[in-house]
Symmetry: C2
Subunit: 462 residues, 2 copies
């Protein structure tokens, strides 16, 4: 493959136009837009962008690129956070956003097959009349192709699992243009290597995902929400540990630290106590959610929760959760004009309080501003490190803090990324975390993409 | 690699003795015992059996074999069903049953790390005082290494998932003797390719699993069980579909058809109606299991269930479930002296009734005897096809019936194996099911085991 971006040949562009007709762009604006995600990572525009309409078109485009050793970068909505879509070595970006059809809903089997450009809100809108929903919610209204490719999760994972648990089967275009189906629609299978899980989280480096079969769930009869403030972080985390050990099937449990709560109060004119706070959501029958909430309240009180606001009313739920939903923008508003760098470590639950407390100390000592929010049921938390994009010294301190936090998490048997993925931003941390196992990943990459044309420069270096 | 079994060289045996000392056997009895599983598949004894005591020993043994291109076959308890442990090309069997230590329980994180020879009953015995348990129950008291390697599941999978969902991390000895750890203990991770899921279900063909970190669950406060008889199979299956759509978190739901119920009645002197029957188990709080049971009873009545026996008492639960537990032996007793061939298709739930009805018709037309039991919440069902091991004509008819059933299941978007795995018995069915995707599996196998020494002749042909 080309180490440096090269101009795409007229010959290739002409072959691509033969496949997608006018749905090819080499305009600077389109290329720029497709070369970066929502993170602070530098953009690298591809040489051209094609807007694919079918698996067959994707296959033909990949074949045309493969014949010339030209990189291929799949693109969904560009909401990734580790530089996943940057065309580090140039090449052709395949924009899948126009492949946005819901192909088939199987209500009795509680599954759905979609094209990769379908967004999660669009899917749930589509499903509304069936009484079913797709629970994975990473915050952004991401495409399901992108969520699959980055192994996304989010607030509901403590109850429903992440993308890993909820993808049943995929159609994938391989690096040579072959089209494979990774599995059928059976709920479980022991038939050979788990190709589905191989592509979930592969970030476009092994193939292009062009169809996704997902598990669905019945919309719960009753939903309730609760908010509780704790004297300290350990109390909040211990409440979560005991809740989960007790088998209470919380649908969501999110932690906001005192800095984040202060930011939320200012941003949305609320008056929550400026303390470590847990937001809960419960799904079930009316009596079930009441029982769950009562049990959690008992546990929270045991750990010193001062108040426990509980509601089943939709408007009040929305209001309770507003603080969580506003967290990112409330954080940014702490310093107008700043950008945020989102971190993503995940540790075993027993180490979470310690990891957050040490990280908070490090933030304060570094003179940085960073609210903390966490999908605390999974041990996953995010800092939003506020940065002045022009202050290179501050950026260096932020990167150093992130590195210390990641090494702390790894030392606690955790991971450098719970849900954002590796992209180009965490390639070195992947080695720190996995050691020798990265050479196994590299062997797999080289076996399935020998010319390294699939989103090169992401996950593993070749 | 060697296409035909060859004598192991004195040189190799001497090196192996240097590693495991007196824990090497070339006795015919030991070799025979390690060359076959519990299935009807022909045994193939390995050239030698080593009883490993540590990851480092396994690594040294694999290195010694790799240097000579000699096959390596891992062995747990030998309870597999598709010829998984047969040494088709000779080689060295690594018996892992003496690596049976529970290494670490992390109660707060609800996980445990075990050596591969730990059996599931032993693990739950060990965990009893912690209030935690490991739910996966494939029937046999298999080793956790074997359960991981075959992607086992069983009766609890509808609620707790299969091995795929419950393995957090593995230590694996690769084909060249390198030792890797596939992940850390965080509940979720987006850090690179999912090596854990790659080895879950790899049947010893990519490496030898030497440590397993598993998810645990709190022992439910209350457990209740129920049995209901239905006018026909569709009514039973529709009850299950509506139960799952309603979000009722049944822990177990097992189907026994009329032939199986008749067998159970005769075997255990019971008097259940000879009809399609569902066995349920509910886990939760006392009021929760009562609510679940009441909801399921309403649904069952809607579909014409004649009676619905429900109990929370441990003895009565045991009695209710006895029929399910006895199913296999009750089936065999229908024809004394026979052996059973266990089949394992799994289809989307919406096709399950149709698949079973057509299969039952086929069984009856073929003049064979075969009770049906099913993990019906997952769409997975088993026939126990009774065979006279000396009647080659009958065996041929049984194999033909199994093939028709598998092709029927695949045509219904199902799989040839829900939980038993491929071994050597389903290599051709894997191709029928996966088509081109098998070439991707083969590329992965060749990348990670280029000399094809890891359990050769299983999953994919090289």
């Amino acid at each position: 493959m080309t180490a440096e971006p090269v101009e795409l040949s007229d010959d290739l562009l002409s072959e691509l136009r033969g496949i997608v007709e006018q749905r090819l762009s080499t305009s600077e604006a389109i290329r720029e837009q497709h070369g970066h995600d929502e993170s602070y990572h530098l953009g690298h525009p591809p040489g051209a962008v094609v807007f694919a309409h079918s698996t067959e078109e994707v296959s033909a485009v990949v074949k045309a690129c493969a014949a010339r050793g030209v990189p291929v970068i799949p693109f969904g909505t560009g909401t990734s956070l580790e530089g996943h879509v940057a065309a580090l070595h140039g090449g052709v970006c395949i924009d899948l956003s126009q492949m946005d059809a819901v192909i088939q809903v199987n209500a009795e089997d509680m599954d759905v097959t979609v094209q990769p450009g379908v967004r999660r809100k669009q899917l749930n809108e589509y499903l509304r009349d069936t009484g079913l929903f797709f629970p994975i919610d990473p915050g952004a209204d991401a495409s399901l192709g992108g969520m699959t490719a980055t192994r996304a999760s989010g607030t509901n994972a403590v109850r429903y699992g992440a993308m890993r648990e909820n993808v049943l089967a995929l159609t994938v275009v391989m690096a040579d243009g072959r089209i494979i189906r990774t599995a059928r629609r059976a709920r479980k299978s022991a038939a050979g290597y788990d190709l589905t899980r191989l592509f979930v989280g592969s970030e476009g480096t092994l193939g292009v995902i062009t169809e996704i079969t997902l598990r669905l769930y019945g919309i719960p009869e009753a939903v309730s929400a609760a908010v509780a403030s704790f004297p300290d972080l350990e109390a909040a985390v211990n409440t979560v540990i005991l809740t989960i050990q007790s088998g209470i099937p919380v649908a969501r449990v999110e932690l906001l630290d005192d800095v984040q709560m202060d930011a939320v109060n200012r941003y949305s004119d609320l008056d929550y106590p400026v303390q470590s706070t847990l937001f809960f959501e419960f799904h079930g029958t009316p009596s079930g959610v009441e029982e769950q909430s009562a049990m959690v309240q008992d546990i929270a009180k045991e750990f010193g929760a001062a108040d426990f606001q509980w509601t089943t009313k939709a408007e009040e739920r929305t209001k309770l959760w507003q603080a969580r939903h506003d967290a990112y923008y409330a954080g940014l508003a702490l310093r107008p004009g700043s950008k945020g760098m989102a971190t993503d470590v995940c540790v075993p639950l027993s180490r979470l309080a310690e990891c957050i407390v040490e990280t908070r100390k490090d933030i304060d000592q570094s003179g940085l501003i960073a609210p903390i929010v966490g999908h605390v049921g999974d041990g996953n938390f995010h800092l939003v490190l506020l940065m002045d994009p022009d202050d290179t010294d501050e950026i260096a301190r932020i990167k150093a803090l992130n590195e210390r936090m990641i090494m702390r998490a790894i030392a606690m048997d955790g991971t450098c990324t719970g849900e954002h993925g590796v992209g180009s931003g965490k390639i070195d941390f992947l080695v720190a975390e996995h050691g020798e196992a990265v050479s196994v990943m590299r062997a797999m990459k080289m076996a399935l993409d020998p010319d390294n044309i699939m989103n090169p420069g992401k996950i593993v270096r070749i």
